[in-house]
Every structure is written in structure tokens, then in C-alpha cells.
């Protein structure tokens, strides 16, 4: 094992309009290590990886690959030189087969004289798929795979791409675990551990535990710079938190002390609600109450949430809001009844990335910034500025397209869109903190507490078990489309994780 780092960035700087994403960064990736990269949203992790994989060019500074300076011509070029990445957003095509996806742009000997040799293609792809396990078949159409399986295919694809070069590859994984389940994460880790024998891996995650359990070395990023380098053995989660956000936050992470008892009057009641993926779901959320709905994949919890918002059809059963029966036939109905919804797929369902912060914020309730039927630009500017300040949205201006904000800041805007309405009664949150950094998460948690205190009923589909338990007054578990149990969860009397888990699986 030589001492030269496989890859190295020196004095790397990269700016986008109004933002400096990387400033004078120096990192190195060594052979056969798993390098962790953590930092809050917008800290520059993804940008760093994109620079490493040739997707973006540095403004200044240099990139060294195995000791010599390189300038990648693009991702494909980086692939050829042995660097490959799994993007934060999934990038598999679902209208082609798994094999084609794995070897996309890298068909090599499987295409001879321009003609596909399918058996050869499938065989080669299968080799990589076997590496990641999970009984993936090369010839399957990708549309038939679950989200998690697709993530595995992404990893296989990255390995395949990285192995195009003549050296041991560098594999960059940008938040690969955020959509995976426990067992799948385990699989992924064992893959990576194996991979370490013949490759270097860079791993980005917001879950400190994962990073500590799993990486050989960790860089902590903040505001476009590297603020620390550490070895997992030497640090604790709390120390990492502190380093990331620049202050000690972990104590009040879930803002548990802010939990107020729920009022007695029920706000939202579902009775015997039945849809295609859920059956006989009955639940009540009182004013000021946070109820989390826990369940594994295909438990139906997501569709229950969407049904309340009118986004999926209901076959039978009733929804009652403040004593009045409602039948939300579309999200528009639900919104007019006073329901807000933060979807799990932010970029697809939540945010209009091509519009600016201001327009996104006022999209759902333009009445709040209008005088009569007319939009009032002055009032709009003021209101938006208030919310930007209140939620600490990091944006160069109100007129910045949402596309240019970091994920966490986008999420804050999506949330604020509902908060504009003083008459909001129910807020349905589908994994609202997924992909957010701890600081942003804490902000969102604080916000949820505040909203509950305002008398809102909050239906929370938490990202993690801890989050669900810590944030709620009650925890409901779902399995196979039915509610299986209910736990009360007050300050100091939280249900045990294992008990909750037991009723979910």
C-alpha cells in the first residue's frame, strides 16, 4: 500500500451564483479506506463529490488523481479513470433493464459492431449485481424494482463504472442509506466492507452513528470548508454534532421540553378508512397533538397520509375535521379545509424548483399576501422576509430559484408554505427531515413543537424510530395496511423502541 493518496483536492474553490459551495478545501482519499463526509445541509458535501467525479469543475485549486493533476472532461471521463459516484437522487432509468442500467455507457465487449449481445451484457452486469447481493436479476425491467433494490443497483453501477479504469476504483456514495431499511443498510455496509479490499470509498450520510460505525476516517464540513478531520474511535456523536454546527445542539435536539400536552378536543378523526393499500384505519388526533404513524415499507402509512390530503382515493370510511365530515377528493379540497402536507419526495411533489423562494412560499396561500383578490407585492415581500428570517432559510435573496438552495433550505420553504395560513388545522408530514442536517432537523423539530402548541394536529411519518417516538404524543404502528397498536408517548414516558418495533414487523 503506497502512501500517495488515491485522490486529493488542494485549495479547491467552487462558487455558484450567490453561494460559495467550496472554499479552499483540502481533502485526501487514501487507498483502501472508507472515508466519511459529514456536515449540515449546504455544507458542500455533494459539490465536493461532484468535483471528484468530474461532474463539476473547480473555479480554482487542483484535483490530483494518484499523484498527478487531472481535469476530468465529465463523468464518463472520470469513470474511465476509475472514479464513480452514486448520486443523492436516484438516477436509474426505469424503462430499460437492470443490466443496461448497470453498464450504461460502459457496455464494452457486450456491444460488438454496434450490436448488443444480450447474454454477454446480462452476464457481466450480473457479476456486479451478485456483488451487491439482494438477488437482483440482470434482465429484470428496472421499473419492477423497489426503491431499495434500485439503490443496490446504483451501487453495482458505480462499481461497474469505477472498474473501467486500470486501477482500483474510487467509489463515491452520496447519502446511499437515506432511503434504505435497516437490513438493507446492513447489506450495503457489508458490500462496502468487501469493496474496501479493492477500492476506496467516500461515504456521505447525515446519520452520525452510521458514519462512526463504518468509516475509517471522517471529514467534517461546514460552510464550504473542512472544519475537522477525525477518526471515529476518538470522537463521540455529540462532538461531531458540535463540530458540524459550530455549537452544542444535541442536548435539545428534539426540543422535548417544549412538548405541551394535547388539548382534549379532537381535531382530525379517521374512522374505518379503507383504500387500496390500507384497511379500516381509525385514529384521532387532538388539537395540539403530534401523532406519529410508524410502519415499514408497504405498511400503507404513506397512503393513509396521502388519503387525508386527498392525494389517493378512499374506498370507504370517513374523515372528520373539527367535527365536520370532509371528503377530500383532491389536495385542493384538503387545503381549503385547512390541511397541509409535506411530501416525502421534495423535488417531485413539494417544491417548484424553477420558481423562486418567494413564489414557492406563497403558492399555497396567496390570499395571505393579497389585498382583496390582488397580490400585494409589498406585503408579500415583507411576509416572505419574515418567514425566511423566522426559519433561518439560507438563501441569497427572495428571488433565488428554489433549485439553487440546498436540500434543507428547500425543505424549510416547503414547510413554510403551509405556515403562512393562520387557519391551518392539520399538518401531515411525510418524512419531513429526510436528508436534512442535524441543525436543520432541530429547526424543523422546534417548528413542529411550535405548531402543535398553536393547536394544530400533526400527523408525522417519521424518518427514524427515534424521531417518531421523541416527537409525538402518541405512536401508532401500522402493518400490512392496518393499525396494529398504539403507544402514548409523553415527556419522560416514551415507549420502548423494541416494543414499537415489535408491532411493526
Amino acid at each position: 500500500m503506497s502512501d500517495t493518496p488515491v485522490m486529493e483536492l488542494r485549495g479547491a474553490t467552487k462558487s455558484f451564483p450567490g453561494v460559495r459551495a467550496l472554499s479552499d478545501v483540502h481533502v485526501e482519499i487514501r487507498q483502501h479506506e472508507v472515508l466519511g463526509l459529514i456536515g449540515e445541509n449546504g455544507a458542500g458535501k455533494s459539490t465536493l463529490l461532484k468535483v471528484l467525479c468530474g461532474l463539476q469543475r473547480l473555479d480554482s485549486g487542483s484535483l490530483l488523481l494518484r499523484g498527478s493533476e487531472v481535469a476530468f472532461q465529465g463523468v464518463a471521463d472520470a469513470n474511465r479513470k476509475g472514479v464513480a459516484m452514486v448520486f443523492q437522487e436516484q438516477s436509474l432509468l426505469e424503462n430499460i433493464t437492470v443490466a443496461e442500467n448497470v453498464l450504461l455507457g460502459n457496455e464494452g465487449p457486450s456491444v460488438r459492431f454496434g450490436l448488443y449481445r444480450w447474454s454477454d451484457l446480462n452476464r457481466r452486469a450480473q457479476k456486479y449485481l451478485d456483488l451487491v447481493g439482494g438477488s437482483l436479476r440482470a434482465a429484470t425491467p428496472t421499473s419492477r424494482l423497489s426503491f431499495a433494490k434500485r439503490q443496490m443497483v446504483e451501487v453495482a453501477k458505480a462499481i461497474a463504472s469505477g472498474e473501467r479504469g486500470h486501477h482500483e476504483p474510487v467509489i463515491l456514495l452520496d447519502e446511499p442509506t437515506s432511503v434504505l431499511e435497516h437490513s438493507e443498510i446492513e447489506t450495503l455496509f457489508s458490500i462496502v466492507r468487501e469493496l474496501r479490499e479493492r477500492a476506496s470509498v467516500v461515504f456521505v450520510s447525515h446519520r452520525m452513528e452510521e458514519v462512526l460505525a463504518f468509516c475509517d476516517r471522517v471529514y467534517v464540513m461546514r460552510d464550504g470548508g473542512v472544519v475537522g478531520e477525525c477518526h471515529p474511535a476518538d470522537v463521540t456523536t455529540d462532538q461531531l454534532f458540535a463540530m458540524m454546527v459550530g455549537q452544542d445542539l444535541s442536548a435539545g435536539y428534539y426540543h422535548e421540553s417544549d412538548q405541551r400536552p394535547a388539548q382534549s378536543r379532537p381535531r382530525l378523526e379517521l374512522s374505518n378508512l379503507t383504500g387500496t393499500t390500507f384497511h379500516d384505519v381509525s385514529l384521532t388526533i387532538a388539537r395540539g397533538e403530534v401523532v406519529s404513524l410508524m410502519g415499514v415499507q408497504e405498511s400503507g402509512r404513506e397512503d393513509v397520509a396521502r388519503a387525508v390530503f386527498g392525494a389517493v382515493p378512499v374506498k370507504s370510511g370517513t374523515i372528520t375535521l373539527d367535527g365536520r365530515r370532509i371528503r377530500p377528493r383532491s389536495p385542493a379540497h384538503a387545503v381549503r379545509a385547512g390541511i397541509g402536507y409535506v411530501p416525502s419526495e421534495r423535488k417531485v411533489d413539494g417544491a417548484v424548483l424553477g420558481m423562486d423562494v418567494r413564489e414557492n412560499l406563497t403558492l399555497a396561500h396567496p390570499g395571505q399576501v393579497s389585498r382583496g383578490p390582488l397580490l400585494d407585492p409589498a406585503r408579500e415581500r415583507r411576509t416572505v422576509q419574515e418567514w425566511i428570517g423566522d426559519l433561518r432559510v439560507r438563501t441569497p435573496s427572495q428571488h433565488t430559484p428554489l433549485r439553487d438552495l440546498s436540500g434543507g433550505n428547500q425543505q424549510k420553504v416547503v414547510l413554510a408554505k403551509w405556515l403562512l395560513d393562520p387557519d391551518l388545522r392539520v399538518l401531515v408530514l411525510d418524512t419531513p427531515t429526510r436528508g436534512l442536517d442535524v441543525g436543520a432537523k432541530a429547526d424543523v423539530y422546534a417548528l413542529i413543537r411550535r405548531l402543535a402548541a398553536r393547536g394544530l394536529a400533526v400527523l408525522l411519518l417519521a424518518d427514524t424510530l427515534d424521531e417518531g417516538i421523541a416527537m409525538s404524543h402518541r405512536v401508532l404502528t401500522m402493518k400490512d395496511g392496518r393499525i396494529t397498536d398504539e403507544f402514548t408517548s409523553g415527556v419522560g414516558s416514551r415507549p420502548r423502541r423494541t416494543d414499537v418495533l415489535e408491532r411493526m414487523v
Binding site: 424503462n95 455507457g105 456491444v111 405498511s299 411519518l461
Partner: protein, 347 residues
């Protein structure tokens, strides 16, 4: 380590692909997959069923031959167009391209205007003219990043202009008997142009299944960004698709010219409607990424069969357009019915 909860396996409602494991029997699996244009075949069967009551001669071998012959030209057009649409573009220029290619072909075979006599090579020349017009469109779309929708309105006009320049005073009449024979001589009961069309469909299907061009058409139509990230030279492939569409329009034009016997600026009139409607009814999505050559073939046959059936049924000329329009709407609804879903976005 924390335990994480993944979201329910989220099958995107917009995806037209069907969930796995629901179909056990192989026949149903095939019909249910996107590999076969099942709904369009259903529409075809419906037309046949209705016509067997209204006018049974619809199903006579002679009439089926007529439908095949009339489908030949739009089918060839559809093969090229399919690849453009698979990549998420559109080619509206084919009537203009056909005009230019028709004149070129007619002036290069033995004709009554000049002394050229390239024989069947003139077909290649027609294809080349079409390909050249396609290249203009493809290069413009690629280099200037202008939507193909509007670029091909431009190249349509350019093709028409070329044709008008070549037209002179009278339509050049084809004197080359071997060229005319493509449309007139029958092999196994069908004229040559039908066999050519079948060959083109077979080649198109092979392209779609077994070549980089074909597979990457799906990739580019699925997500241009992903294609770029994977180092796919998207512009080149896209330009190639327009060239192919131009070349097939040239070939289709040569076939139509062989059939009519003159170089005609109006050779493609009405074929844009037939072809695009056919491609869409077949199940190729205008947004790209789904469908294929066989789908388009079936869709085009549906369109031709409707026109044929209306003549056989004696539908008044006055309302034929109305009926055809209504059938397009209904057939497309039937084709896409099973994909309907709340909050599905269709543009």
C-alpha cells in the same frame, strides 16, 4: 446504530410500467408488458369486429391487401419518427421532407424531364435528401438547443421550398418500369412496397433491440441528464434520430412516388396526421422513453384501417373528418385508460 424506517415501497403513479408479480400466466404477462401494443391491437380488433357486421368485405383478402398497401408508406415514416419520439423529440417536417425527396427521386430515375436514369439508386438519393434535411433539424436541435417541435416546422418549409425549386413546370413523370414495379408487382399477393415496409420495420425493430442507437434512444428519452452523465453523446444520437427519420421519410417518399408515378410536392399531404396519430395510438409516449417500432406499426395500421373502413361503410365524406378525429380521441383514451390515476401528470 439507529434503526431506520424506509418509506412504503413507492411505485410512482406516473409510471406506466406495471408492478411485478401480479401476472402469473405468461400470455398475460406479455400482453400486460409494454412489449406488445395490446390496447392498439384491441382497437384494431374492435374495428374488425364492427366491420364484420357493417361490411364483411373489410376482412376479404383483397381489402386486407389494400390496407397493407396503404399502410406501407406511413409505416415506413413511423419507424423513423418513432426513434425521434422515443428520445422525447418530434419531427413535424415529414411532409416537406417527402416533397423534396419525391421530386429528387422522380428526377433521378428515367423520367420525362431529363435524361437521368439511375434506376433504383434514385431511392438512395431520395433517402439522402431526406437524411440531409433531417441532419439540418438534428444539428439545429443539438447545437442551438431549440425545441424540435419548432425546428421541424422550419425544416418542413425548407423541404417544401426545395421541392418547389425542383418542380419546374410539370410534375416529372416516372418512366422507369423497374421503379414503378416496386408498387405494381406483387410477390405473394402483396406489392413490393409492403415488403419494403416490412423490411424497414424489421430493421427498425433490430435497431431498437440490438443496437446502441436503439437502446440509447430509450435512455435519452428516459432521462437526458442521466444519459449525459453516463457519457452518452446525446446530441449525436439525437441528430442521428432526425437523420434516420429524414431518411425513412425519403424512402417513404420514394415508395409513394413509385406508387403514384410522378414527382409530387403534395406527396406527403395528410401523412403527418396519420403517422403521428398512429404512433401515439400505438402507445409510444410523446414524452419519450416508452413504446417502439412495433407499437407504431400497429397504430398506423389502425389509422389506415379506420379510413378504409369509413369508405367501405359508406360514411358520408362530410363527416369523415369528424369521425376520424373522434376515433383518434377514443382510441387514444382506450390505449391510455389503464394508466389513469389521481394526480397523474399528463401534458
Amino acid at each position: 446504530m439507529k434503526l431506520t424506517l424506509a418509506p412504503a415501497d413507492h411505485h410512482d403513479p406516473r409510471a406506466t410500467g406495471r408492478t411485478a408479480g401480479k401476472t402469473s400466466r405468461p400470455v398475460r404477462a406479455v400482453l400486460g408488458s409494454n412489449a406488445v401494443p395490446t390496447p392498439a391491437l384491441g382497437v384494431l380488433a374492435l374495428i374488425a369486429a364492427v366491420m364484420s357486421f357493417v361490411n364483411p368485405s373489410f376482412l376479404s383478402p383483397g381489402n386486407l391487401g389494400a390496407v397493407a398497401e396503404q399502410s406501407a408508406v406511413p409505416a415506413v415514416l413511423a419507424v423513423g419518427l418513432t426513434f425521434v419520439i422515443l428520445m422525447g423529440g418530434i419531427d413535424l417536417s415529414l411532409e416537406g421532407t417527402m416533397a423534396a425527396a419525391s421530386l429528387t427521386t422522380a428526377l433521378l430515375v428515367a423520367n420525362d424531364r431529363n435524361t437521368m436514369d439511375l434506376g433504383l439508386w434514385a431511392i438512395a438519393a431520395g433517402c439522402a435528401v431526406g437524411a440531409a434535411i433531417g441532419l439540418v433539424a438534428g444539428a439545429t436541435v443539438g447545437l442551438l438547443r431549440v425545441p424540435s417541435f419548432i425546428v421541424t416546422i422550419g425544416t418542413w418549409q425548407i423541404g417544401l421550398g426545395i421541392a418547389q425549386l425542383l418542380f419546374g413546370d410539370t410534375p416529372p413523370r416516372v418512366a422507369d418500369e423497374s421503379f414503378r414495379a416496386l408498387a405494381e408487382h406483387r410477390t405473394a399477393g402483396l406489392p413490393g412496397i409492403v415488403w419494403i415496409a416490412l423490411l424497414v420495420v424489421a430493421v427498425g425493430w433490430t435497431l431498437q433491440r440490438y443496437t446502441r442507437f436503439g437502446r440509447y434512444a430509450y435512455v435519452i428519452g428516459g432521462s437526458e441528464e442521466t444519459a449525459l452523465l453516463s457519457g452518452v453523446p446525446v446530441r449525436a444520437y439525437r441528430a442521428a434520430a432526425f437523420v434516420l427519420a429524414g431518411a425513412t421519410a425519403g424512402l417513404a417518399s420514394a415508395m409513394a412516388t413509385a406508387r403514384s408515378g410522378v414527382g409530387d410536392v403534395g406527396v406527403g399531404t395528410g401523412l403527418l396526421f396519420t403517422t403521428i396519430a398512429g404512433v401515439v395510438i400505438g402507445g409510444t409516449l410523446l414524452t419519450g422513453g416508452r413504446g417502439g417500432v412495433l407499437h407504431s406499426l400497429v397504430g398506423v395500421v389502425v389509422m389506415v384501417a379506420i379510413a378504409n373502413a369509413m369508405v367501405l361503410a359508406g360514411v358520408s365524406s362530410y363527416i369523415q373528418q369528424t369521425v376520424q378525429g373522434a376515433v383518434v380521441v377514443i382510441a387514444a383514451s382506450l390505449t391510455l385508460w389503464r394508466a389513469r390515476q389521481r394526480l397523474r401528470v399528463i401534458k
